[in-house]
Subunit: 321 residues, 2 copies
Amino acid sequence: MELSSIYQPVQEDLEKIEDKLRSVSRVDSPQLSEMLEYSLKGDGKRIRPVLTLLSGKFCNYDLDSLLPMATATELLHTATLIHDDAIDNSPVRRSRPTVYKVWGEEKAILLGDYLFAEAGALTATTRNLRVIKLFANTLKAISSGELNQAFNAFNPEQSHQQYFQRVSKKTGALFCMATESGSVLSQAPEESIQILIEYAHNLGIAFQIVDDILDFIGTEEELGKPVGSDLTQGTLTLPAILLLEHYPRDNPVRRLFAKRDGQDDIKRAIELVRNSSIVQECYQIASDYCAKACQKLKLLPDNSSRQSLIALADFVISRKK
Amino acid sequence: MELSSIYQPVQEDLEKIEDKLRSVSRVDSPQLSEMLEYSLKGDGKRIRPVLTLLSGKFCNYDLDSLLPMATATELLHTATLIHDDAIDNSPVRRSRPTVYKVWGEEKAILLGDYLFAEAGALTATTRNLRVIKLFANTLKAISSGELNQAFNAFNPEQSHQQYFQRVSKKTGALFCMATESGSVLSQAPEESIQILIEYAHNLGIAFQIVDDILDFIGTEEELGKPVGSDLTQGTLTLPAILLLEHYPRDNPVRRLFAKRDGQDDIKRAIELVRNSSIVQECYQIASDYCAKACQKLKLLPDNSSRQSLIALADFVISRKK
């Protein structure tokens, strides 16, 4: 199913989020305004704010608080991407020069900080202490997950468990914040909230696994950024872990990580992953997470939003970018 | 007066803040724990958390909320320093290698993000929506002030007004958060809160002016970092603005900013500032801000904390580091 069909139950309100994102860009400083506009332009998938809105549909849908919260979710996501790109010196994302590339590292870092704050300020307007705490703890989880990744850069000795723990923090946490905040702000019963958190946790992990697969099998055009970026950064993702297990001797990932450089080894690793069962194995694991994500959704009220959550899990697997 | 005497009314609770800072370092990841411990070690002046505690002394001093808030204030300050050092590639601060120098840029940025989040989480424990919003807006003010500085790097055409506006955001805002949160959390009447905000606003500006003077007249030993850092970064501070006004032709700051490099011009600028009336003029302006800071304090209850706030204003002018 296309994203536009999946988003249908909240399409109108998603447009209000786009308005709200545009209003974030309207600040006194013309230079800051330009940076904000550039980084919040509507070329993301907006999965996270949609999750917030959809999760609000199982009890008292309260747009007044869901709108700032969903916007905060997208801002937090954008801020982490801006910092990631600055850290990785990434020149391109979504087929556009990154903030880092256009404005340089210093301004990219400060813009990320500004967006964290703006996201926090929007979260505070909900006046809901549970989601306010959730917001802070989510940023803690994301940054500690990213730090774990940084500490393990070019380390070939990492277990599946370490990978899943890290992914759960760096990607799962924000997915969880999206659904938990949406359901809390619509005063859903605690059982429904927990079901939606579990959904998002598993969906987030599946989403990241597919991201990590696409970094091996996608094209630069589809991805909007170079293929093999993870290996270049020394990040050991699931396909690379499986590659190390499948080829314990004379392995290009091991060579690359030992030298911390080498285009030939990156090419060789990509080739090996593409021409092996690894892609299929990874997709199987991602699908298992998606199945787990949807398992308990049937306990929620049967409505179009529940259908969308299920369809979103399919989309996460089938997406090409 | 020595800082230890000024801090006397809240000395015991300041030690509890040190405990709380140590407890922030106790996390599962040993690498993160080490970074946190290093960056939160007790070698800062702790002026901001002391301001929070002192400001709590004019009504119902509530340590249960003041303690996390004062700690959050120090964490937010630390996070911005860590990002500043990463941005400026500064190797030394407080006579120690910076987090950037020891762990590199990537981990420094992520540690800063983590500390923003930890500060936000501690602020949320106060369950006070006013201070929670204040926290987010303070981080917005600081980062937009820093962005303004970045946008104006190596620009010699900046007015006094621009300088004071920037300083008010990048330094004043956090001082204001410190006193506003302290007085709000102790349920002080709104007039007292406003007096303490105005105090902090003016004190913060004075503090930054003195910082900017010391960058010209201090010694590397006193400052714990190289002299002339601001000029190296292309930051136009008050002494440099006055230097441009005093010597409109053949000015080393103008030469330096045009070339964006030049140790000789930095040395010459420092010499000129030291051997002119500029230092005195800047100190006069800082003193005026301090006087303004203290002006309305007499309207607050007369207690030892009020004495400390007045003494702190003197300290801000007389400090050598």
